[in-house]
C-alpha cells in the first residue's frame, strides 16, 4: 500500500516552514536510519561520524565498522536510531543560549591581575 506522508529526519526543518518533502513511501522493508558515533582513540570522546541504514543495532555496528573505520579511525562504536535523538531547535537558539551571553566573569580573562602573579 502506498501512503503519503511528510517525512522529517533528524535533520529536517519544522513543518510550518516550506521545504519538507512530501513523499510517496512504500513501507515494506525500509531499514531505519542510525547515527554513528566513533571513539577514535582510547581516552577520547565518541564523536558523531555520520549515519547509515541498517535493519538492527548489530548490523548498524557492523556497517559502521565497514564504512567509518576502514583506516583504523576507531576503537569503539556507538549507534543510535536517528528517531531517538532529540535536537534543539535552531530558531530558539537566541533564548536558549542567552543566559550565558552576559556572564563574562565566567572567563579567566575577566580578571586583571598584577604581572608578578605568574601562571595563574
Amino acid at each position: 500500500m502506498n501512503i503519503l506522508l511528510r517525512k522529517f529526519y533528524y535533520g529536517d526543518i519544522p513543518e510550518d516552514k516550506t521545504g519538507g518533502n512530501i513523499v510517496s513511501k512504500d513501507t515494506k522493508s525500509d531499514w531505519p536510519l542510525w547515527e554513528v558515533f566513533i571513539r577514535s582513540k582510547q581516552g577520547l570522546d565518541h564523536k558523531h561520524a555520520g549515519s547509515l541504514h541498517a535493519a538492527d543495532a548489530q548490523m548498524a555496528i557492523e556497517n559502521a565498522r565497514d564504512v567509518y573505520t576502514r583506516r583504523m579511525e576507531g576503537v569503539s562504536i556507538w549507534v543510535v536510531e536517528s528517531k531517538d535523538i532529540t535536537a534543539s531547535n535552531p530558531e530558539e537558539a537566541g533564548e536558549l543560549y542567552e543566559p550565558a551571553v552576559d556572564k563574562v566573569y565566567r572567563h579567566p580573562t575577566f580578571y586583571d591581575l598584577p604581572d608578578e602573579v605568574k601562571h595563574m
Binding site: 522529517f8 529536517d12 521545504g19 518533502n21 522493508s29 571513539r39 555520520g50 565497514d66 564504512v67
Partner: protein
C-alpha cells in the same frame, strides 16, 4: 516571519561563511539544488564501482588486486556518506535510488566509458579521480554542512586513489614496448572524457551562477578544468607520455596551459544516455538492487522478530563503552 525575511537571514549566513545545517530554514530551490547535486555525486560514486569492478578478478598481481578491492570499497563508502548527507535534506534513500534507476537522476558521464585494458584502471585513478579531487576539495568548503563534512572525509581517502593510479601507470611506462603502448592508449582514451567531467563551459552552464551565490560551488567549471589541465600537463611528463591534444601549450602570458576544444556534441550525447555503456551501467545497478531485495526483506524480518522476542537487552551505550 515572512519568506523575504527568512531568505535574507539565510543569505546573510551564507555571506558570512556560516554553514547551513539541516534544521535551518533554507529556500526550496537551495534544498532542491543540493539534493540534485549531492545525489548525483552519490550515484557517481556507486556507478563508478562498475568499470573498476570489471578488473578485480583480472588484476595482474595479488598486490594490485588488493589495492583495487580497497579502492572500490572506498567508492561504496563515499556513496554512502553522500546518500546520508542527501537524506538530511528530507528525501528518502529509496527515492534517491529510484531516481537513478528511472534515469531521472544523472551520474558522472565518465563512467559510461568502458575499461578495455588494465591500463584503464591506472588512468581512471590518475585522471578521473584527479579531476574528481579538484571538484571535491572545493566542495569541502560548500555552504551545506553535511555535504561539506562528507567531502572532508572523502578527500582524505581520495588521495590514495589518485596516487595508486599514477603509480600503476608509472610501472607500465617503464615496462615493455607493449606496456608503454597500453599506457599511452589508455591516456588517449581517458583524457577528453576527464576534461568533460567539469561540465559545460561557464558560458553555457545553467547551474553555476546561483550555486556560486549560495556558495554550493566556489569555483566555476572552467576554473576547475584549467587547474586540472595545468596539473596533468606537468605530471604526464614524468610518465614520459603525451596528452592527445596538439593545441596543448604553455601560455607564458596567462601562466596557464592553453588546450583544444572539447567535443561538446559527444558530451551531451553521453549525458543524454547514448554513451558506450550507459545502458549496461544502469542495468547492472538495477539488477543488483532487485536481486538484493530478498536480503533486505529478510534482514528486516529478522530484526522485527528479534525485537518482539523476550531477549534481554545488553545494557545501554555507557555499559557498552
Amino acid at each position: 516571519m515572512s519568506v523575504q525575511e527568512l531568505e535574507k537571514i539565510f543569505q546573510d549566513k551564507i555571506d558570512k561563511e556560516v554553514k547551513l545545517e539541516p534544521k535551518d530554514w533554507m529556500p526550496d530551490a537551495y534544498r532542491k539544488t543540493n539534493i540534485r547535486q549531492i545525489s548525483q555525486h552519490a550515484h557517481s560514486e556507486i556507478v563508478g564501482m562498475l568499470p573498476e569492478g570489471n578488473w578485480i578478478s583480472r588484476a595482474p598481481s595479488l598486490k594490485r588486486k588488493a589495492i583495487l578491492l580497497a579502492k572500490v570499497q572506498d567508492e561504496a563508502g563515499h556513496g554512502l556518506y553522500l546518500y546520508s548527507a542527501c537524506e538530511t535534506l528530507g528525501i528518502t534513500r529509496e527515492e534517491t535510488i529510484n531516481d537513478l534507476h528511472s534515469g531521472k537522476a544523472k551520474y558522472s558521464s565518465i563512467f559510461n566509458y568502458p575499461t578495455i585494458t588494465w591500463a584503464d584502471i591506472g588512468a581512471i585513478g590518475w585522471l578521473v579521480d584527479g579531476a574528481a579531487i579538484l571538484n571535491q576539495v572545493m566542495l569541502t568548503r560548500t555552504s551545506y554542512g553535511p555535504y561539506a563534512r562528507a567531502m572532508v572525509r572523502i578527500c582524505k581517502e581520495e588521495s590514495f586513489h589518485q596516487r595508486q593510479g599514477f603509480e600503476s601507470l608509472l610501472v607500465l611506462s617503464r615496462g615493455t614496448k607493449e606496456q608503454k603502448e597500453m599506457c599511452q592508449d589508455a591516456i588517449n582514451r581517458w583524457w577528453w572524457p576527464s576534461l568533460m567531467m567539469f561540465g559545460p563551459k561557464d558560458s553555457e552552464s545553467t547551474n553555476s551562477d546561483q550555486s556560486m551565490k549560495w556558495k554550493i560551488k566556489r569555483k566555476t567549471n572552467d576554473e576547475l578544468r584549467q587547474n586540472f589541465v595545468d596539473m596533468i600537463a606537468e605530471q604526464v611528463k614524468i610518465l614520459g607520455m603525451t596528452l592527445p591534444d596538439d593545441k596543448l601549450k604553455w601560455n607564458e602570458e596567462r601562466r596557464h596551459y592553453d588546450f583544444g576544444e572539447i567535443n561538446w556534441e559527444e558530451f551531451w550525447s553521453v549525458v543524454k544516455g547514448n554513451g558506450p555503456c550507459n545502458k549496461q551501467r544502469l542495468e547492472a545497478r538495477k539488477k543488483a538492487w532487485e536481486e538484493g531485495e530478498w536480503v533486505r526483506e529478510a534482514a528486516a524480518a529478522f530484526a522485527k522478530k528479534r525485537k518482539t522476542s523476550p531477549n534481554p537487552s545488553k545494557g545501554g551505550a555507557l555499559a557498552a563503552a
